[in-house]
Amino acid sequence: MTVEPSFMLYEERIREGDTVIVYVTYGQMVPTVVKRGQTLMMKYGALRHEFIIGKKWGQRLSATAGYVYILRPTSDLWTRSLPRRTQILYTADCAQILSLLDAKPGSVICESGTGSGSLSHAIALTVAPSGHLYTHDIDETRTSKVQEEFQTHGLSSVTTAVVRNVCTSGFHVENSADGVFLDVPAPWEAIPFAAKSISRVRGGRLVSFSPCLEQVQRACLAMASAGFVSIETIELVPEQKKIVTQHRQSLEEFEEIGDAYPKERKRNADGELVENTERVSTAIVYPYSQPTHTGYLTHATLLPVLE
């Protein structure tokens, strides 16, 4: 029996049909489905797919103009490397949303919109194999694209992508979800439908993502009216740092050699080569410019209904 490729199979070696993440540098990753006869063209050279098949996951390979690493896809790597079709939810928000939804294997989750499918993948991987993701979008190109990706990534059996405006027509399932995630411009319109889609006997969680505060204000009111409790809005602001080695010059050294171009040795006044000063490893905020806001996350609980 041949097994279909899947993000959820953890074989040691790469097989044809697997999706791999070709890692060039921190900022440069390309996701590719391995197929005999094809060649990956990158900025740093070409790589024949034949050469990838049978190699270990995580192995370094030579392209024509430098090394690359072939990584096993994870939720985070997929988010960072996926083709951007629209606004995207990054790992920090995805992680938080999964937690706020109390998502775990077996959970039934409704999502709207599908967007780039970044969060959809994160949810599908988390609820598999016994749960299910229903993802909704008004744009058919997005749902069909993510459906295709789920197929390639072995996640079809735990996902359903639906073209549907949840703000007017509600969700694909009613009285069955453990969690609902909303990333729509007018969440307050979808919130009554979200309440309907949640399992009455188990209750469930609602998470809404909105960039603007005015959206949050209306969403909070709508949640309270729809019977949600423990309503809370949070904002995450991640900060990325890198490690650099830093001088610990004495004042004498500074007087002698200055602070410019610290990587080179300098000649002092007598023309002698002067040693570099002591250095320590230290963390600095990098890059200097970073995302400082993505959106507010408003979350709430719908309690089980008393019969």
Binding site: Q59, R72, S99, E232, I234
Partner: protein, 438 residues
Amino acid sequence: MEAETPPQTSSCINSGEYLIVQKIDGEQSRIVRFTPKQKILIEKLKFTADSAFGKPHGLFEVSNNQCFPMSVDRLIEELQLQEAPVATSVIDTEVITFETVEVSDPRVVIAPSALKLEPEQKRQKLEMDAVLEMKKQGVSGQDLVAKLVEGSASFQTRTVFSQSKYIKRKAKKHSDRVLILRPTIRLLAKAYYLKDPDRLAMLRADQLALILQMAGVHHGKNVIVFEQTLGLITSAVIERLGGKGGCVHIHRGAVAQSIPCVHSMNYDEKTLSTFLPVRIKCILAEKQLPYETNRRPFDDEAENGGVEHKAAEKIEDQDLEVLARRNERLDKEKRGLEMISEQKAHSLIIGSRTVDPISVLELVYPKLAPSASIVIYSPHQNILVSAYDWLAKRQTINLVLTDQMCRVMQVLPDRTHPLMAQHVAGGHVLSGIKVVDQ
């Protein structure tokens, strides 16, 4: 594909279950094991566990030491009644004055001259005896508030806006509504963080979420965990594995202890089957060691624990059941050690408080499968800078150090702003991916 696990249909409270208890609008969150005859205490509210048995998880009203299921609709009606006057756009200076009272800035010395009682506090003080008397008589919180509002000398002279504030403040103080919920990792994380951040290495719920995502923990993965966070990271990993894969839990002593977060999740056997405790000793020896049957395990942690529950194990060598449990433990440890020695682990998570992560990396990193994710949490940035250097020397790729701010917003009509004060202690997360050359 595996067979589907049955959906959790039972939302009834059973004896012996660990549960989360919160007051509506309360500050605390308690994790309590509900056993017969037990008294449950939460922010001065008291009821017997028995009164909750057989009822669905959710909202309760407490009265006469009993809790009674309550409809959410009623709660919402009441809240809307209180909030209604606020929804107008009146702004007065009281907004600011009131908020000043809420901010507790530890950097401020309240000089003696400022230590006089606010007029309102004075009034409240006089009313206190009456309140206590009413409570004794079993008057419900709702009625209590009504009586207080009625009796407040200054109430008639207040603006509509401050009236609603007043009612709300009172409602908060005398509320007798509690939520009794099935524990989730998120609720556990929050409860322990607020209770004793030190014991949890200051790990915040939002950072725990990030750790799980960066480590790529999903059904079927093999994950090695070394943590000093009361079992919180381990428990979260176990939940996400959903009964397949493995969570190697490296622990001190003979038995995994001080992991209340694993116990209080009420996991079923299948879910717990992925929990593979491995003794540090075995990791150091790179092989499984026999139990030294004449020595009891270290238990000073249990003493110092200050946690509400501890590992139920007591070793009595004569007991057959104990022997069976030990054999099971040895089997699981064997599985865990094999996962390491055969390089089958897809993720390594270190959440340390006193142990240098490098000490763990030296033993475990070489045994990880290539393409494995490494995630290290520490409240100390310095410690992670060293770990970063260590990993960078071994060609670990995708290395990044992140920190994140998590703020709660107050969202109220005309009063929207981030909370004025909040627990902010936390740590840093270092992550990377192992690769191989050949």
